[in-house]
Amino acid sequence: MKVTIQEWKAVAAWRWDMPDDDVCGICRNPYDSTCSKCKYPGDDCPLLLGECNHSFHMHCIFSWLRQESAQEKCPMCRQPFKSKNQEAAAADSTPQAIEANTSPA
């Protein structure tokens, strides 16, 4: 039997390269979802990985680091929080690029 495709619509799904069931420790929403302020996941609400290998929604960890009581420490391990990758924070690239940036080594 010969089939002729006349029309097709591509559908793709994406997800962060993170363990399946993990949630952001600050907002408790899944990494694939947004922080509690955003509407659309992905580029608009990226993840941020620290040098200590703890990750959060970028907006969540920034909200925390703005607090004086945070003393610029990671909420998980209380080490000074430094972003492992500056490009991720800039959020200037495609989801794939961010995915590559935030995936654990």
């Binding site: 408790r28 607090q67 998980m76």
Partner: protein, 246 residues
């Protein structure tokens, strides 16, 4: 903003309800739908005076939660150096300077439970309680247990003998026994001499043992433990012996 916070709180409450193992409970404080005013409760930890008690904690969620800690205080009166015996206010670093947004209402309640096992009198919330714990641990245990029975519904009798906890009765009896023993030891130190007789020398700044030893050295009559006026010569001998030794 508020709805986001409400979402996390609702999630936390669901988590606590789903977890039947930890024996931590939380409910809304009012009868309304106010997610910012909760009431938690947990059991007093074993091997403490609080064992078997049921402790309620008033929880207020600030508007910038989880970036600020929940405000917690004991509703149930408790005798503990880091909790005000008057207001229930709590002194715990994880609920103030050491708060982190990854902590939860549940983890905070567990921290409180473990605070009951590890009182820290050097960083007190209630100075009177802390002072008692340092100076007289037996009395502290007694009062803490008494309050647990009166206010937290802890059973009067220990559930299991020898579990390490102590009831008000056993603590009281022990205190009385040790007091009686102490008195007996004190009197024994006088070696049969009258207490007042010896104490007149002790008042000069010597200790009981030294005075009794001097009495025995000089050969002072015990007179059957009666108090009497020493002859001047004997007084001199005893004093000379005391000073000679010093």
């Amino acid at each position: 903003m508020t709805s986001n916070r409400a979402r996390r709180i609702a999630k936390e409450i669901a988590d606590i309800k789903a977890d039947t193992l930890s024996q931590i409970f939380v409910e809304m404080a009012g009868n309304g739908e106010d997610l910012t005013h909760l009431r938690g409760n947990f059991r007093g930890p074993p091997d403490t005076p609080y064992e078997g008690g049921n402790y309620f904690v008033d929880i207020r969620i600030p508007s910038d939660y989880p970036f600020r800690p929940p405000v917690m205080k004991f509703e149930t009166k408790i005798w503990h150096p880091n909790v005000s015996s008057q207001t229930g206010a709590i002194c715990l670093d994880t609920l103030s300077s050491q708060w982190s947004p990854v902590l939860t209402i549940k983890s905070a309640l567990i921290s409180l439970q473990s605070l009951l096992s590890t009182p820290e009198p050097k960083d007190p919330q209630d100075a009177e309680v802390a002072h008692m714990l340092i100076r007289n641990p037996a009395e502290f245990d007694h009062v803490a247990r008494d309050w647990a029975v009166r206010f937290a519904g802890a059973p009067k009798k220990e559930i299991a003998e020898g579990s390490g906890g102590a009831t008000a009765e056993t603590i009281k009896r022990k205190a009385q026994e040790s007091k009686a023993k102490e008195e007996k030891n004190k009197l024994a130190a006088y070696h049969g001499y009258n207490k007042d007789l010896i104490d007149r020398f002790v008042a000069m700044g010597f200790d009981v043992e030294a005075v009794v030893a001097a009495f025995e050295y000089v050969g002072i009559d015990r007179m059957g433990g009666e108090d009497y006026e020493l002859e001047e010569a004997y007084m001199g001998d005893v004093t000379a012996r005391l000073f000679g030794e010093a």
